[in-house]
Symmetry: C2
Subunit: 345 residues, 2 copies
Amino acid sequence: MPIFSANQLIEYGARIFTAAGAPPEEARLVSELLVKANLAGHDSHGVIRIIQYINEIEKGIIKPGAKVEVVKEGPSFALLNGNWGFGQVVATKAMELAIRKARVNDVGIVCVFNCNHVGRLSDYTVMASKSDMIGISMANSTKCVAPFGGREKMLSTGPISFAFPSDLEFPLVIDIATSVVAEGKVRVALHKGEKIPIGWIINKDGYPSDNPKDLYEGGALLPLGGDEAGHKGFGLGLAIEVLGGILTGAGCAYEETKRGNGVFFEAINVERFMPVDEFKRRVGTLVRVIKASSPRPGFREIIIPGEPEYMTEVNRLKNGINIPERTWEEIKTIACKLGLTFPPP
Amino acid sequence: MPIFSANQLIEYGARIFTAAGAPPEEARLVSELLVKANLAGHDSHGVIRIIQYINEIEKGIIKPGAKVEVVKEGPSFALLNGNWGFGQVVATKAMELAIRKARVNDVGIVCVFNCNHVGRLSDYTVMASKSDMIGISMANSTKCVAPFGGREKMLSTGPISFAFPSDLEFPLVIDIATSVVAEGKVRVALHKGEKIPIGWIINKDGYPSDNPKDLYEGGALLPLGGDEAGHKGFGLGLAIEVLGGILTGAGCAYEETKRGNGVFFEAINVERFMPVDEFKRRVGTLVRVIKASSPRPGFREIIIPGEPEYMTEVNRLKNGINIPERTWEEIKTIACKLGLTFPPP
């Protein structure tokens, strides 16, 4: 597999998006966030998406340069129409606005609709934590998950993310789907020809299945919690559907016309509650105490949310990012069609 | 088992708390919320708690009539010192303040510390939804749950609740612990001498156990998600620990001196985003569509969060509330010591 530095990939992606008609600052932002996903080890959200996004630009699904409009606004909230620009561009503006509102009025909530795929929510919650704020985000999308006890897809995988300022080396950031697993994990198993554990999905008749294909043939992902506590994942998914799909005006997962992400962003200004340094130290201490506690038999150590991504980033910044041959070939083909050439990796 | 009407129980509870020194309006509020838990079918949070609370008043843990102080305040937030009054009284004031702030400034976040057991979070989030606001609440408490991969109790069961205004007959309210089960379920199994499913707890050596006793002998509850996705429950528990324990100043579950609840309350003013009637109709439609979808084999219907509690309430309002003989005897003994007598049920 060809190996690239993060900066090389950012440069290539930015040139491709610019050549496809995106304003240079949008092209760079989207490319940076895709490469950031590769650095974190989440390759499914990385430069492989260049292929999808260029396709969506050609089809008019993504409208580069679209103006993000403030539809409604108050001291601590705003509602934004993304006008189907790049999801990353809309989401970045939304969280920036939430942070500005929280700086003045303690808390900022910004909801967005007409918004394409925003990528990883943690990119935006970490914007808040880097600004000494607590960042919270939830998003809905197209339907993929069955309700607890249900047979049909009704909800999206409903990710939720929290990021907290701390004195830790790595960002303390939670970013989880409220289904047992994200859809991407089933897709990876399908492409590798592997079985999946019972408990991830049901088939079209509502029976548990270990065949990833069944998800794409009328099956559904199961909500977080399994047979014992699946009503909890369902409850969280429902809450995220309301906050991401209804409060935003973006529409619910069950609607046939649903596309893109409806996203809820929130920033909470820590400084209003206590000195930021004290908050950071206390959060750091909480994590250090837990990290230092004993692991269970079968576990080597306690992994903190945000820690594995940070470790992978340190490694990939040093050793480069492997891009699968086929992905790189497809990216090169797109670049070529747009009249660009890249030096060999 | 003696059967009472809700009003009888509220009256008895209020008289007991008043006789124990609580101002009459506090006595009534606490009694009402306890009976509300019985009505909802959550008897562990019902009038059985009278025994505990009277004991805690005698020990000076609960200080009836304590003044709730606003320590810090801004347009969209406040930090409250509960001064160890009844948790229900502190929590009610906190959510009332959050709603008032949201009415003026779109969003209100109110955090509380020095706060005793608040009971069910859904009581407070439903206050918001009845005021046409979205209610959100999270609380931390003493340690009970192991981190994912960990052997030691480090986190509290970290409940989170959301309530949404809707045009449904019952309140759409989510109220879940972020452990696989709440501690109360293990306690119930212990009292009944029953085994519990593998996956709920680990014993003091970190091995899965089906013996509820092991939880109270150095074991721990497991985070929501099990072996497959326990990092998700752990992540949520960690976020709730930061919001409920650190942002509030109430202290973290792992601290040996920890007691009571640290609670985060939030109200979001729906009307700023869209007409309230439209929001209510859309939330209602989401629930009706899901409710009408096909159940899986083995399930009769899809149960919506808040629905079973409502059904139980309708039934118990009509048919009365059964109180176990032993609980009723203990309540009568307390009443007697306080110089009160109640007519037979």
